[in-house]
C-alpha cells in the first residue's frame, strides 16, 4: 500500500516541476531569468480557482475531454513501474494497455476539439490524428525492443531485466530504443521539433490548438494531464537509460527523479537549439524513429538476445 | 448388267458437272429432272435379275421403288421448282459468289477428291459396281458446292436436291436392309421438303420481290 501511495504522489506532484525546469532551461539559454521554477504550480492553482466559459455548440463531450485525458495519463502512470520493480496495475501484456490508454486520452481530446466546431481546433485535431498515427508504431517497436530480451510482456519485468544487466547500453538495441522513445516523447508532448507549446499563432498549433477553448479547471486538468504524460514517457525513457539497481527502494526513486530532471534539461536544450520541422516533415521524422527502432530489433534478433 | 449401272452413274456424274456449269435456272431444273430419271433406273440396273445368281425375291420391292423415285424425282419435284421460278420470274443466276468457270474447275477437283475418298472408304461388302461410291461422293460434294456458291434461292434448292441424290445412290447398297415403308418415308420427306421450300420461295419473292439470299441476311448478332 505504501508503494501505491508513493507512486500516486510521484505522479501527482512531480510532473509540473518538469515543465518548470524546461522553461527555466530555455530561459537560461536565452539569457533571461525566466519564470520561477514553480510557475506551473502557481498556474494550476490559479486555474483551479477560476470559473469556466463554455461555447454554445459544445456538448458534455467537451467537458469530458480534459477529464479523460488526465485520467488516462494517470492510469498509464499506474501501469508503469516508477520505482519499485512492479507497478500497481502491471500484468503480462500491459505494454499494449499502456499504448491503448494513451490512445484513448488522445481520442477524447480530439473529440473535444471537434466538438467546439472551430476550424482551428479541427486543424489541431487533424494534425494530432495524423502524427499520433505514425507515433504509435514507433512507440510499440521501442517497447518490443524492451520486452523481447526479457521474454515477458509486462513492463515491470522488461524494465526489471534491464536493471540486472550491466550498466550503460549493453546492447545497441537499447540505444535505438532510447532514441526512439525520445522522439516519441517529443511528438506526444508537443515539444519543439514537432510542435511549439508556447506559440500564440493558432494556425501553427497542434496540441495547443486542440485545447484553445478550454478554460478554468478544464484547462488545469489539460495542463496537468500533459505534464503527467511527459512524466510517464520520461520515466520510461529514464528507466531505459539509467536502470536503477535491483531492490534499490528509495535510492531508485531518487535516481528516477534525477534522471527526469536531467531529461527535462535535455528537452529544454533541444527546444532552445532546434527550430520546428515543417509539418509534412513530421511524419518522416516519426517514420524515421520507427525505422530506427526496427533496426534495433533486427540487430537484437540477428545477434540473438544478449 | 453392271455395264448399264456404270453407264447410269456416269450420266449422273455428267449431269452434276452440267448443273454447275449452267447459269440458267430452268436448265438446271431440267438437268436435275434427268438425273432423277437416271437414278430411277439405277436400282433396276443394279439389282435386276442376273445379279449374284438367281431371281431376287424382292424384284417387286425394287420395281416399286424405282417407279416411286421416277415419279418424285423426275416429275413432281421439277414441276414444283419450275412453278416457283415462274412466280419469281427470275431467269438467270446473275454473278454467283464463285464465277461459273471457277466452280466447274472446283467441281472437277471435287470429283477427283471423291475418287480418292472412295479408295479410302472401300465398301466392305461386294458391290455390283465399283463406280457407285465415288459417284455418290461426287454428287454430294458438288451438291454442297452449288448450295454454297449460288445466290438464288432456287439454285440452293437444286443444290439440296443433288445432295439428296448423292445420298440416294449410297442408299442403293442397302436395298435389302431398308423396308419399303421407310424408303417411301424418305422419299415423302424429300417431296414435302421441296414443297415447303417452294412455298417459302413463293413468299420470299412476294415479300422481297427478288429471291436473292444476299439480302436475306438481316438477322445477325
Amino acid at each position: 500500500m505504501a508503494d501505491l501511495l508513493l507512486h500516486l504522489a510521484l505522479l501527482l506532484v512531480v510532473p509540473p516541476l518538469l515543465l518548470g525546469v524546461i522553461q527555466k532551461t530555455k530561459a537560461w539559454f536565452a539569457g533571461r531569468r525566466g519564470a520561477p521554477l514553480l510557475q506551473p504550480y502557481f498556474d494550476l492553482w490559479k486555474l483551479l480557482r477560476k470559473g469556466a466559459v463554455y461555447s454554445r455548440t459544445t456538448t458534455w463531450l467537451f467537458r469530458a475531454g480534459p477529464i479523460v485525458s488526465l485520467a488516462t495519463a494517470l492510469c498509464a502512470g499506474l501501469v508503469l513501474p516508477l520505482a519499485a520493480a512492479s507497478s500497481p496495475l502491471g500484468f503480462s501484456g500491459d505494454v499494449i494497455l499502456f499504448v491503448g490508454l494513451l490512445g484513448l486520452g488522445r481520442f477524447f481530446t480530439m473529440a473535444a476539439a471537434l466538438d467546439t466546431g472551430s476550424s482551428f481546433e479541427g486543424m489541431g485535431a487533424s494534425r494530432e490524428a495524423a502524427f499520433s498515427a505514425f507515433a504509435e508504431p514507433a512507440l510499440l517497436l521501442c517497447l518490443a525492443i524492451l520486452c523481447i530480451p526479457a521474454r515477458s510482456l509486462s513492463l515491470g519485468d522488461a524494465l526489471g531485466a534491464l536493471s540486472s544487466a550491466p550498466p550503460g547500453f549493453s546492447h545497441p538495441a537499447y540505444l535505438a530504443a532510447a532514441l526512439g522513445l525520445f522522439a516519441v516523447l517529443l511528438a506526444e508532448n508537443s515539444r519543439i521539433p514537432v510542435d511549439d507549446p508556447t506559440t500564440h499563432l493558432e494556425l501553427t498549433m497542434i496540441h495547443e490548438g486542440m485545447v484553445l477553448d478550454h478554460g478554468g479547471p478544464d484547462l488545469a486538468f489539460v495542463l496537468s494531464g500533459s505534464a503527467v504524460k511527459l512524466f510517464v514517457v520520461g520515466a520510461l525513457l529514464v528507466r531505459v537509460v539509467l536502470p536503477p539497481p535491483a531492490q534499490s527502494g528509495l535510492a531508485g526513486v531518487g535516481l528516477l527523479l534525477v534522471g527526469q530532471l536531467g531529461l527535462a534539461v535535455g528537452v529544454g536544450c533541444v527546444e532552445s537549439m532546434m527550430a520546428r520541422l515543417r509539418l509534412p516533415r513530421v511524419p518522416q521524422f516519426l517514420v524515421g524513429a520507427s525505422v530506427l527502432a526496427g533496426i534495433g530489433l533486427a540487430a537484437l534478433l540477428y545477434r540473438g538476445a544478449p | 448388267m453392271t455395264g448399264y449401272a456404270d453407264f447410269l452413274l456416269l450420266v449422273v456424274l455428267v449431269i452434276d458437272l452440267y448443273i454447275v456449269a449452267t447459269s440458267r435456272l430452268a436448265s438446271c431444273v431440267h438437268a436435275s429432272a434427268f438425273q432423277g430419271v437416271a437414278l430411277a433406273l439405277l436400282p433396276l440396273a443394279l439389282w435386276a435379275p442376273g445379279y449374284a445368281g438367281g431371281v431376287d425375291p424382292q424384284v417387286l420391292h425394287i420395281a416399286l421403288m424405282s417407279v416411286g423415285t421416277l415419279i418424285v424425282k423426275a416429275l413432281v419435284i421439277p414441276q414444283l421448282v419450275l412453278r416457283a421460278i415462274r412466280e419469281a420470274n427470275v431467269r438467270r443466276e446473275v454473278e454467283p459468289f464463285v464465277s461459273l468457270h471457277l466452280s466447274v474447275l472446283i467441281a472437277a477437283l471435287l470429283v477427283g477428291v471423291s475418287f480418292w475418298m472412295a479408295s479410302v472408304l472401300v465398301l466392305p461388302m461386294p458391290a455390283p459396281t465399283t463406280l457407285l461410291v465415288p459417284v455418290a461422293f461426287a454428287t454430294v460434294l458438288v451438291g454442297f458446292l452449288v448450295l454454297v456458291s449460288r445466290k438464288k434461292a432456287v439454285t440452293q434448292v437444286v443444290g439440296y436436291l443433288m445432295l439428296e441424290n448423292g445420298i440416294f445412290i449410297f442408299g442403293q447398297t442397302l436395298v435389302r436392309q431398308i423396308p419399303f415403308a421407310v424408303e417411301l418415308g424418305i422419299l415423302l420427306d424429300l417431296l414435302v421438303g421441296v414443297f415447303v421450300m417452294g412455298i417459302a420461295i413463293h413468299h420470299i419473292s412476294r415479300a422481297f420481290d427478288h429471291i436473292d439470299t444476299e439480302l436475306l441476311s438481316a438477322l445477325k448478332d
Partner: protein, 657 residues
C-alpha cells in the same frame, strides 16, 4: 443442441414464407417477419450459448433422394461460436429493421425484404451447421442470392443496380473456386462428408489456396474486396449491418473449417494470410479515410477489420506450423474474439449510420454535422461504436486486438528468427492500423455528430424510433460488457480455438491478464468519476457562462469554416499518396477578387482501376466473336461442311488405320 438450431431455421423459413405471402399488407408481413426472426434468433442464440458453455456437440444425419451428398448437420464448438455471432447480430438487425423499414412503405413492397432477410439468416445458420459439402454449397448459394436481392432492394436507382451487379460478379467468382475446392476434397476422400474430408501434401496446398480465394472473396480480402464498398452502402442499413457484421465472417468460418480438414499447416500458409491481412488492413483503412460517404467509409473499415482477423489467423497458423502452442492460441482466439466484437461494433455503427441517413436523407459526410443535440441516443451509441472499433481500452475492440498483439509479441519472442520476422512485421502494421482507425473514427464521429450542422438539411433531423434506439442501446451495452469483462468472452472463444488449432486450451495464460484489463478499466472509471466530482466541486461556487467558440477574433465565423471530412484526413493521406490512386479535380481561386474555387478529390479503388476496364476489354474481345453470326445462309452451310471435314480428318487420320 443442433435440434434447437434446426427449429430456429425452420421458424425463420416459415416466417419468411408467411411474410412473402402477405406482401400486399406491408405492416402485417413486417410484424410477422420480425417476430419470427426475433424468436428464432433468441432460441438459436441460447442454443448456441448452451452448447458453447457445456462444450457439447451433437449431430443429425438423414437421407434424401437427391443424387449427391446427404443432409448431415452437426454442431461443434466452432459452429456454436459462429451461430452465436449470427443470431445475436441478426436479432438486433431484425428489431432495428422493424423501426427502419416502415419508411419504405408506399415506395417499395416490404414483404420481399422481410422474407429475404429471414431467408438470409436461415441460410447463414444452415451453412454453419452443415457437415456435407453439397449442403454447405447449397446454403452458400442461397445466402449469396438472398443477400444479392436484399442489396438491390431499392433497384430503381442506377447505382444500386451497378453495385448489385459487381456483388453478383464477385460472389460468382468466389463460388467457382468453392465448387472446385469441394470436388477436389470430395474426390480425394470419396464422399462429401466433412468428417471424412482430409487432404495432405500438394492437394492440401491447392485446397488452401482455393479456400483463401473462394472464401476470401466473400470475406473481403484485399484484391477480392471490390464489391464490398459498392454493395454495403447500396443495401438498406439493417441489411448492411447484417452483411458487414456477420455475413462476411462466414468467409472466415469457411476458411477455418477448411483448415480443420487440411491437417498440419505448411509454413508458407501463415505468410500468405499475414500478407493478405496486412494489405487488407492498411489499404482498407487508408481507403476508409479517403471516403466522403458515411456508409462507404464503414464498408472499407470492414475490409480493415477483416484484415485484422486474417492477421490473427495468420499468427495462429504461424504458431501451428512452428509448433508453438502459445502463439497459435493467442492468434486464433484474437481472430475469433474479433469476429464477435466486429459483428457487434459494425452492426452498431451501421445502425447509427442508418438512423442518421434516415433522419437527414443524405449520406455525404461533407453535409452532416451537429447532430448530437437532435439525436443523442444514436450519437452516444455511435461514440461507443467508434471508440470500440478503434481498439481503445475500456471497450471490446481492445480485447480482440490485445490478444492478436500478444500473439504477435509471443511470436517475436519465442519463435526462431525465421518465424519471428513475420510476427515482428505484424506489430508495427497492427499499431499503424490501430492509429489510423482511431483517427478515421474520431473524424467520422466528429464531422457527423459534433460541431455545427454544415447544411440546412440537418436541423430538421429527428431522433430515431424506439425500436432503432433500443437495438443501438443493447448493442452498446454488449460492447461495453465485453470490454469490461473480456475474460468471459474468452471463455466462449476457447473451445472453438481448441478445435481449430488442435492444441489444449491455454486459457489460464490469457484469463489472468484479461482480469487485469478489467481491473485497469475499473481503475480508469474510478479516476474519471473522481475527477468529474472534483470538477463539479470546483465549479459549484463559480460563475459558468455560455459564449461563442474562440475564432481568433474573426468577426463572422460560419459553419462552413469547420474542418470537414476531407480536410481532416488530408494530412493523414499525404504520406500514402504514392500508393493510393488519387484523382484531384480542382479549380483554384484566380484573379484579384476570386469568386468560385472548387476542390474535389476522388480515391480510385482496385475496382475502378483494374476490374472495370478489364471486364470492358474482355466483353469487347468476346464480342469480336459476333462475326460468326453474320446472317448469310451460305456461310452457315460452310460451317457445317467445315466441321464435318475437320472431324472426319481428325477421326480417320488421327486414329490411324
Amino acid at each position: 443442441m443442433v435440434g434447437t438450431i434446426l427449429f430456429a431455421i425452420a421458424l425463420l423459413g416459415l416466417s419468411a414464407l408467411a411474410a412473402a405471402l402477405l406482401t400486399r399488407f406491408d405492416r402485417a408481413s413486417l410484424t410477422i417477419g420480425t417476430t419470427g426472426s426475433v424468436i428464432a434468433c433468441v432460441t438459436g442464440a441460447s442454443g448456441a450459448l448452451a452448447s458453447l458453455v457445456r462444450r457439447g456437440s451433437s449431430a443429425l444425419r438423414g437421407t434424401w433422394s437427391l443424387p449427391l451428398g446427404e443432409p448431415h448437420v452437426a454442431m461443434d464448438a466452432l459452429s456454436a461460436f459462429f451461430l452465436l455471432c449470427i443470431f445475436v447480430v441478426s436479432g438486433l438487425a431484425a428489431v432495428y429493421a422493424s423501426g427502419y423499414l416502415p419508411t419504405y412503405i408506399g415506395r417499395r413492397r416490404l414483404g420481399p425484404a422481410v422474407a429475404l432477410f429471414n431467408l438470409l439468416v436461415a441460410a447463414m445458420a444452415g451453412l454453419v451447421i452443415a457437415r456435407d459439402g453439397i449442403l454447405f454449397l447449397m446454403n452458400w448459394e442461397v445466402m449469396s442470392f438472398a443477400s444479392f436481392f436484399l442489396v438491390t432492394f431499392e433497384n430503381d436507382r442506377e447505382d444500386v443496380r451497378r453495385a448489385g451487379m459487381s456483388y453478383l460478379v464477385a460472389s460468382q467468382f468466389g463460388v467457382v473456386f468453392l465448387f472446385i475446392l469441394f470436388v477436389l476434397l470430395g474426390r480425394s476422400s470419396g464422399t462429401y462428408d466433412f468428417d471424412r474430408f482430409a487432404a495432405t501434401g500438394g492437394l492440401a496446398n491447392a485446397c488452401f489456396l482455393l479456400a483463401v480465394v473462394g472464401f476470401g472473396s466473400k470475406a473481403g480480402f484485399w484484391p477480392l474486396h471490390f464489391w464490398l464498398p459498392e454493395a454495403h452502402p447500396a443495401a438498406p442499413s439493417h441489411v448492411s449491418a447484417l452483411m458487414s457484421g456477420v455475413m462476411i465472417k462466414l468467409g472466415i468460418y469457411g476458411l477455418l473449417r477448411t483448415l480443420t480438414f487440411l491437417g498440419p499447416p505448411a509454413v508458407w500458409w501463415s505468410t500468405v494470410l499475414l500478407l493478405l491481412g496486412a494489405i487488407s488492413g492498411l489499404a482498407g483503412i487508408v481507403h476508409a479515410l479517403a471516403q466522403r460517404d458515411l456508409k462507404r467509409r464503414l464498408a472499407y473499415s470492414s475490409v480493415e477489420n477483416i484484415g485484422l482477423i486474417a492477421l490473427g489467423i495468420g499468427l495462429g497458423l504461424l504458431g501451428q506450423s512452428r509448433g508453438n502452442a502459445l502463439v497459435s492460441f493467442f492468434g486464433y482466439s484474437g481472430a475469433l474474439l474479433h469476429v464477435l466484437n466486429h459483428g457487434l461494433m459494425k452492426g452498431l455503427l451501421f445502425q447509427g449510420a442508418g438512423s442518421v441517413i434516415h433522419a437527414t436523407g443524405t449520406r455525404s459526410l461533407e453535409s452532416l454535422g451537429g447532430l448530437y443535440r437532435k439525436m443523442p441516443t444514436t450519437a452516444l451509441s455511435f461514440l461507443v461504436g467508434s471508440v470500440a472499433i478503434s481498439g481503445l481500452p475500456p471497450l471490446n475492440g481492445f480485447a480482440g486486438e490485445w490478444l492478436i498483439y500478444v500473439g504477435a509479441f509471443h511470436g517475436a519472442e519465442r519463435l526462431p528468427t525465421a518465424g519471428a520476422v513475420p510476427a515482428l512485421v505484424a506489430l508495427p502494421v497492427l499499431a499503424l492500423i490501430g492509429g489510423l482507425a482511431a483517427a478515421c473514427f474520431v473524424a467520422t464521429f466528429g464531422t457527423v455528430f459534433l460541431g455545427l450542422p454544415r447544411t440546412e438539411g440537418v436541423p430538421r433531423a429527428h431522433e430515431a424510433g424506439l425500436a432503432m434506439r433500443s437495438t443501438m442501446g443493447i448493442g452498446s451495452l454488449l460492447c461495453v460488457a465485453i470490454g469490461l469483462w473480456p475474460a468471459g468472452a474468452l471463455r466462449l472463444v476457447v473451445p472453438a480455438v481448441a478445435l481449430v488449432s488442435e492444441v489444449p486450451a491455454l486459457a489460464s495464460d490469457a484469463t489472468t491478464p484479461l482480469f487485469a484489463i478489467s481491473r485497469a478499466a475499473f481503475v480508469l472509471g474510478l479516476l474519471v468519476a473522481l475527477l468529474a466530482l472534483l470538477r463539479r466541486a470546483l465549479l459549484r461556487g463559480r460563475e459558468v457562462t455560455q459564449g461563442v467558440t474562440w475564432g481568433c477574433g474573426y468577426a463572422a465565423p460560419d459553419s462552413r469554416m469547420q474542418y470537414t471530412a476531407s480536410s481532416f484526413v488530408q494530412p493523414l493521406l499525404a504520406p500514402f499518396a504514392p500508393i493510393t490512386h488519387v484523382r484531384v479535380d480542382e479549380e483554384g481561386p484566380s484573379g484579384y477578387f476570386p469568386r468560385d474555387a472548387r476542390y474535389h478529390e476522388e480515391i480510385g479503388d482496385v475496382g475502378e482501376r483494374f476490374l472495370v476496364p478489364g471486364t470492358r476489354r474482355v466483353v469487347h474481345l468476346l464480342s469480336q466473336l459476333r462475326v460468326i453470326q453474320q446472317g448469310r445462309v451460305q456461310l452457315y452451310v460452310v460451317y457445317i461442311v467445315a466441321t464435318l471435314v475437320a472431324l472426319l480428318v481428325f477421326e480417320l487420320m488421327g486414329a490411324g488405320k
